[in-house]
């Protein structure tokens, strides 16, 4: 098989710059997991249906399995490893732990980043808005009730802070 020519790119991931060579067909997910060893980003379906590979590109949730690495050069990429600062859990992570929104944990990184992006855009979403926002993320363990509760607890805080 003929090797495809790689391109030199610089990716900004969790506020750090990485100089990489990536073939044009290489996905952001592959680069994050295999080159940068940021294995918190998970692959579950590989076809953009389950949301497990969700990362943030300029604070917007995207499916890294359907995103080409060369297409996000110069953008600000956040993975689950970049959410907590200085050893403390980010409030979204904290809420997921406190509300038992995590069971097996495989969907959790993607789910947490989707929740983070939702709350950033809309600090006090209704339950309906929460459910819609996370319906691109499949969780097979929880039935979503505790995930919705966790996000709601932050939404209620958002409401109080306004």
């Amino acid at each position: 098989m003929k090797k495809i020519k790689g391109y030199s790119i610089t990716l900004t991931v969790n506020n750090e710059n990485y100089d990489l060579t990536a073939e044009p067909n290489r996905t952001l997910l592959e680069v994050l997991r295999d080159d940068l060893h940021l294995t918190g980003t998970k692959e579950s379906c590989g076809e953009g249906a389950c949301g497990s590979c969700t990362v943030l590109v300029d604070d917007q949730p995207v499916r890294s399995c359907l995103t080409l690495a060369v297409a996000v050069e110069g953008r600000h990429i956040t993975t689950i490893e970049g959410l907590s600062q200085g050893g403390a859990l980010h409030p979204v992570q904290d809420a997921f732990v406190a509300h038992h929104a995590i069971q097996c944990g495989f969907c959790s990184p993607g789910m947490i980043l989707t929740a983070y992006a939702l709350l950033k855009e809309n600090p006090s979403p209704t339950e309906e808005e929460i459910r819609r926002a996370i319906s691109g993320n499949v969780c097979r363990c929880t039935g979503y009730a505790k995930i919705v509760e966790a996000i709601k607890s932050l939404a209620d805080q958002g409401r109080q802070e306004r």
Partner: protein
């Protein structure tokens, strides 16, 4: 004084912070030095003779480090039971389903591995194949295995009382047939295995599993190395749901590739491979004949169930039995006959599934509703009249030590407003109820019991060593919670070494709902063993009896005079300086009948205790589209005692979603000649957040006499009841009883249409 510090409280799970940050490593995340990518070549035919396999071109491809076929293995056949040994990890003579493993490669990267697969030349002679139970049973059907005449893999026959006499004495008898196609696990984590050998021939292997010891023994057998050289390591596991308990061809293939290449190898399954080549749930056809008296009590029941088992035995004897056993636990009956068959077809292999048997349980419950309707008795009352009670024996002779079935029915009924709603809701608006019961373990031979060790450090901290595995349900936390409670220390003082076959003792694994009851008891006993040793030292220091002491807040003190106290750390230091053992050991062997066997002798104590559950749902059906909107749900289970109520709620909610919302509305596989047409998330519809109704959790506690703190298991009876509640509610809404599941919009529309025609 409060009874417990940690038990019974909403304790934050010890494992979830690392899952929230992405730190937790799953098998597919492992990166080892010089690790190769493993890939599997699969059969394109549902049934074919293997004429030849030529791997020479693949072996010559630069970057390929190992290629294996059946020739690299002994050809031994494996099975969960002696009488089901029918599967080679790489087949020598025949392939039996589309997707069966034929050969495998390990290469420096994925592209090279995939190219190598394309260079392997396999010559097949296609054979006639069977894809349905009826075709497999037809007189001249091709045999899938020579050892199973008529393709009948397993036949479980149970006959208790006098069924014919019971029918003749019944006031009303009905016979109905219920069907459902295959459903699937869709664990978040696709199956993945990483394996490496060291110079001394020790295997280290990581994979999602529902019991590391269940994986280690067959690996030892097939690799011909002793058990102490098989190190199944602990790793975070992305769901099991009844699967992942048995050895998988991927485990064996990965180990053989690593041994041949002399380098670590990792295989990560695609979503499609996870669906096709791990396990699926059985399709089934269940015919149920039930006789009741005027008051609706079941007098006699005769059930024949035929399950489509796919190409190999897997956990067949268990799978054929469990839906029946759940039913006989849930409901009282004296005359009962069961003929359960597992039929082999040229389709992927079927195993145990969390919500196994929707065409069985929904059949039993739908028919109960139908009988009740003819008698003028509502479904809830029908269940109350037939509910299992504490102190009963099941028909197959299991003693029921604790049973809150009636309470689950009454409380879901009260909270849902059943009396005000049933029969009084507007058209296309309905309410339904389902009940069921599950085991807390089965007779599992020498793997039936669990053992635990506890080591103390001189600072008062401990390390718990146990074979208990956590698939995501929270077992790790359960272990820490119990050990910390018993010793009066903080969960932060507890380190856990679990699910690692090099160091942790034997344990049955998580898949029979037994980890709390059996594993939890073993951990508790180990902690009590340590506590007694500490108390002996403290008693000597204080000049009191050991029974006068309490351990709490990292201290041991005289219960009547808490001023008299010493830190646990001090007691440990005294023990060390006196050369006294301070480690603890605990083991628990459940009270089950070792002579009970799934096929040969299906009588005797099956499990030491059972959980019981009820689910009620209220739905609206759109008569134009057949779409179901679930308005609200009520889920109750007798869990024995709630060790960590939030964890239990999570199990109720997850089980409800999988069994009810997914299992009864949208989840099923479609086929074309043995090929799964919807193996991925795009075609197989698992529930999303927007689909789910409000779920009201009702925890019922009966304090089991032998469970740890009275606990049994944490939510499987809800998972196994939810589908029935959905089907009952939809039937109630549209005024037609439905017998073919899941209840997709087309089935519902057809039923509404049929009813309209009949009424004209």
């Amino acid at each position: 004084m409060k009874k417990f510090d940690l038990i019974g409280k909403d304790m934050k799970r010890v494992d979830t912070a690392s899952k929230a940050t992405g730190e937790a490593l799953f098998s597919g995340d492992l990166i080892l030095p010089r690790m190769l990518v493993g890939k599997v070549l699969r059969s394109p035919y549902p049934h074919a003779r293997i004429i030849s396999i030529d791997t020479s071109k693949a072996e010559k491809l630069p970057g390929v480090k190992a290629v294996i076929t059946a020739k690299d293995m002994s050809g031994d056949k494996w099975g969960v039971f002696k009488y089901t040994q029918d599967q080679q990890f790489l087949p020598t003579e025949k392939v039996r389903y589309v997707g069966e493993e034929v050969a495998a490669v390990a290469a420096v990267d994925e592209d090279t591995a995939l190219e190598a697969l394309s260079l392997i030349d396999v010559q097949y002679e296609p054979l006639p194949a069977v894809f349905t139970v009826d075709d497999a049973l037809a007189p001249n059907a091709p045999l899938i295995h020579d050892v199973y005449p008529s393709n009948i893999n397993i036949h479980v026959k149970i006959d208790v009382g006098d069924v014919e006499k019971g029918f003749s004495e019944s006031f009303l008898v009905r016979e109905d047939t219920f069907t459902a196609p295959e459903d699937s696990y869709f664990q978040g984590e696709p199956y993945a295995v990483a394996a490496q050998f060291d110079n001394a021939g020790n295997l280290e292997i990581w994979m999602p599993n529902a019991g590391p010891h269940l994986k280690a023994k067959p690996l030892s057998n097939v690799l011909k190395i002793p058990l102490n050289k098989v190190r199944v390591r602990k790793i975070t596991i992305g769901g099991a749901f009844g699967g992942r308990s048995e050895i998988a061809p991927a485990d064996v293939i990965c180990a053989f590739l690593a041994r041949k290449a002399k380098r670590p190898v990792k295989i990560i399954y695609t979503r499609e491979e996870n669906t096709v080549a791990t396990r699926q749930a059985h399709a089934m056809v269940t015919t149920i004949k039930t006789g009741v008296d005027k008051e609706g009590h079941v007098v006699a029941r005769d059930i024949t169930c035929r399950m489509d088992g796919g190409a190999y035995s897997s956990t067949g004897p268990i799978a054929v039995s469990v839906p029946f056993l759940c039913m006989e636990q849930a409901y009282r009956m004296e005359n009962i006959r069961y003929n359960g068959y597992r039929i082999l077809t040229n389709k992927p292999i079927r195993g145990m599934f969390r919500t196994h048997g929707r065409a069985f349980a929904c059949g039993v419950d739908t028919q109960l509703d139908m009988l009740g309707a003819e008698l003028g008795i509502d479904p809830l009352t029908m269940r109350l009249r037939n509910a299992r009670q504490t102190g009963d024996y099941t028909p197959t002779k299991s003693f029921v030590a604790s049973c809150g079935m009636t309470e689950t029915i009454i409380r879901t009924g009260e909270q849902s407003g059943w009396k005000e709603k049933f029969g009084k809701l507007p058209p296309f608006h309905g309410i339904g109820i389902g009940t069921n019961s599950v085991q807390t373990g089965f007779p599992m031979g020498i793997r039936g019991g669990s053992q635990a060790f506890i080591k103390l450090n001189e600072d008062g901290g401990i390390t718990v060593i146990t074979g208990i595995v956590d698939n995501g349900q929270g077992n790790d936390n359960m272990i820490v919670q119990i050990a910390a409670e018993e010793l009066g220390i903080s969960p932060d003082d507890v380190q856990l070494i679990s699910a690692d076959t090099e160091v942790t003792p034997s344990d049955p694994g998580s898949y029979s709902m037994c980890e709390t009851f059996i594993g939890g008891n073993a951990v508790r006993l180990a902690a009590q063993d340590v506590k007694m040793k500490l108390f002996k030292i403290a008693a000597g220091e204080f000049g009191v009896g050991e029974d006068e002491l309490t351990a709490r807040d990292r201290k041991i003190f005289v219960t009547s005079n808490p001023e008299k106290s010493m830190n646990i750390a001090k007691a440990v230091r005294i023990a060390l300086s006196r050369n006294e053992s301070i480690s603890g050991e605990g083991s628990y062997w459940p009270n089950v009948d070792a002579k009970r066997e799934w096929v040969k002798n299906p009588y005797g104590q099956l499990s030491e205790t059972f959980s019981f559950g009820t689910v009620i749902v209220e739905v609206k059906v759109d008569p134009e589209t057949g779409q179901v909107e679930v308005i609200e749900a009520w889920a109750a289970q007798d869990v024995g005692y709630a060790l960590n109520p939030k964890v239990i709620e999570g199990q109720f909610e997850g089980g409800f979603a999988m069994g009810g919302q997914g299992g009864m509305l949208s989840e099923f596989h479609q086929w074309h000649e043995g090929r799964v047409l919807n193996p991925t998330h795009l075609g197989y519809m698992v529930p999303l957040a927007i689909d789910m109704p409000k779920i009201n959790n009702i925890i019922v506690e009966t304090i089991d006499p032998n469970g740890p703190y009275g606990a049994k298991e944490a939510g499987m009876s809800v998972a196994m009841s939810a589908a029935q509640a959905y089907s009952g509610a939809i039937s109630n809404a549209i005024g037609v009883y439905l017998k073919d599941f899941p209840l997709t919009p087309d089935i519902i529309l057809k039923a509404i249409e049929g009813k309209g025609k009949r009424e004209q």
